[in-house]
Subunit: 320 residues, 2 copies
């Protein structure tokens, strides 16, 4: 069993990478710009140059299990980045093939939410759990589903778009996907701001949120106010939690998970969010599941979550 993996977190502006040991320690990290290269091939060559130097510096050439790359619109089945609108090159980009040819090391690519789920399973709150769902609550709502010990991919690697399931509580809220009523329109950072604006207008109770100009109000403001005990902010978070709990009652009937992990900016609201979610889940779920699912906040450290998640895509679960 090899002792290290490399995690790469490819964003539209910057590409971060790290050498990660089996226990999840970041041994060394670095980054390079994603932009400014004439082609994806040149970017890949620069990236491999940096990785090779890092491997040599640490004398771990024989001990690399693989390179995991998390990227928006990355397809695990094809190994390509597909239709990524925020990258400066045309899609699809055959990332897995190119990096394997350059490095001679096994490469796995995944979209952010799937990488996060694997990260949680190897290094975080879902360690040793074979059946769980990871919800990434950020600008959008993504998900990674682990069932019977496997990350679910589906016929074209598009499994787990749980942010785009219709729910009545989101009725009338337009979604970026062109439809309306998606979970994402409530449980994302933007969704929380929408809920906050609505509640600030409808409710008469005082709140520290009223001192923030409406146009500047962020989900972080709401989460922080809630943690300071602001009643209206707590109500906004609780509404969001209830929506997540009801959504999870639907998800449970699909994959019978034992754990739901909440990750991302919105999850910063912590226990107020998970308590509301768990309570609503118990009210709404089929009796088979009602008392059997725990809700937890991600345990991946914020700054390294994407790198750990990417590395986890190539890390063998101990015991395998």
């Amino acid at each position: 069993m090899k002792q290290y993996a490399i995690g790469v977190d490819m964003g539209g502006t910057n590409t971060a990478y790290a050498l990660i040991s089996r226990d999840g320690t970041v041994v060394e990290r670095g980054s390079l710009p994603t932009t400014g290269h004439i082609s994806a091939q040149v970017w890949a060559e620069k990236l491999w140059e940096s990785l090779r130097e890092m491997i040599e510096r640490n004398g771990v050439g024989e001990e690399i299990e693989g390179i995991g790359i998390g990227a928006p619109c990355a397809n695990t089945i094809t190994g390509c980045i597909e239709a990524a609108t925020d990258l400066p090159w045309p899609s699809p980009i055959p990332l897995k093939e190119r990096m394997e040819r350059l490095s001679g090391i096994r490469v796995s690519v995944a979209n952010d939410a799937n990488a996060a789920a694997m990260g949680e399973r190897i290094y975080g709150a879902a360690k040793g759990v074979d059946n769980f769902i990871m919800l990434t609550l950020g600008t959008g709502v993504g998900s990674g589903i682990v069932c019977d010990g496997n990350l679910i991919l589906g016929s074209r690697s598009f499994a787990g778009e749980l942010g785009h399931i219709y729910f009545e509580f989101a009725k009338g809220r337009p979604c970026g996907c062109g439809r309306e009523g998606c979970l994402q329109t409530v449980a994302s950072a933007k969704g929380i701001v929408l809920t906050a604006r609505k509640m600030l207008e409808e409710r008469d109770i005082p709140s520290s949120l009223r001192s923030i100009p409406v146009a500047q109000l962020s989900s972080k403001d709401v989460a922080e106010a809630a943690q300071r005990g602001d009643l209206l902010a707590r109500e906004i978070i609780a509404f969001t939690g209830r929506a997540i709990g009801e959504a999870c009652a639907t998800f449970a009937a699909f994959s019978d998970p034992e754990l739901i992990v909440l990750f991302g900016g919105v999850a910063k609201a912590g226990r107020i969010l998970t308590d509301a979610a768990e309570l609503e889940f118990r009210r709404k779920a089929l009796h088979l599941y009602a008392d059997k699912v725990r809700f937890r906040i991600s345990e991946l450290p914020d700054s390294d979550a994407a790198l750990l998640g990417a590395a986890a895509m190539v890390t063998t679960v101990s015991g395998d």
Copy 2:
């Protein structure tokens, strides 16, 4: 690769069994009463006696890959029948363990819908398909989900209770599970009858269904009238199909299937049902899935579906 499997379909009154060859041919079949035995152990001994005689008669003792048993409330993970209210013995019944001890042959147990899904994959409409969802539309609505080539079980073998997901189109319809609005309340045989009664009352158009006393109206009547061209009956089936299509738009976001197979009494409505389902699916699904999912009616022969499904639980997919 062994050439035969045994399928057992255990019901509350009767237990059917069959010797099935790799290509899905029923070589021999038989049955014994489920009731009338003093204990589950005695029933299991009688069953094994019958199976042993059948195996000997056909001279295939060395060629049996396994025994698959489909039963209500059967749990594939524990190998037990759990909380089956229509069996004459106390649950749980450790069926797998008992039958393996008696026979010395590998035994697998599964609930009806999961067995049906495996049957469809080995012998039916989903042959060679690694990502599909089977909906069994009968007295209730069950489901079996195959994703990335595996039948999804979940943490306690309760994955795939898709009949009990809440949908707005079923709002207000009470479900046997104690909640309301479950898909089952619309897409089951009983659901169709409810829809029929409502439409017969609300609509003014003539229909052959009006000659049947309301209390005697069955989903079979509706399906048959629809196939004869009865307009109101066609509308009832189309409503049911649209409900199924909308539900499948939700299911697709979970497992990215390429195929939905409809099975059971309600599926007898055929193309009228699948066409309505597919059209509504395209309207409601996220663009990623909208044009990528086919709807088909089961190809398992009615009389043998349960036996083939049970046998499929122990049949290795060729190529494995």
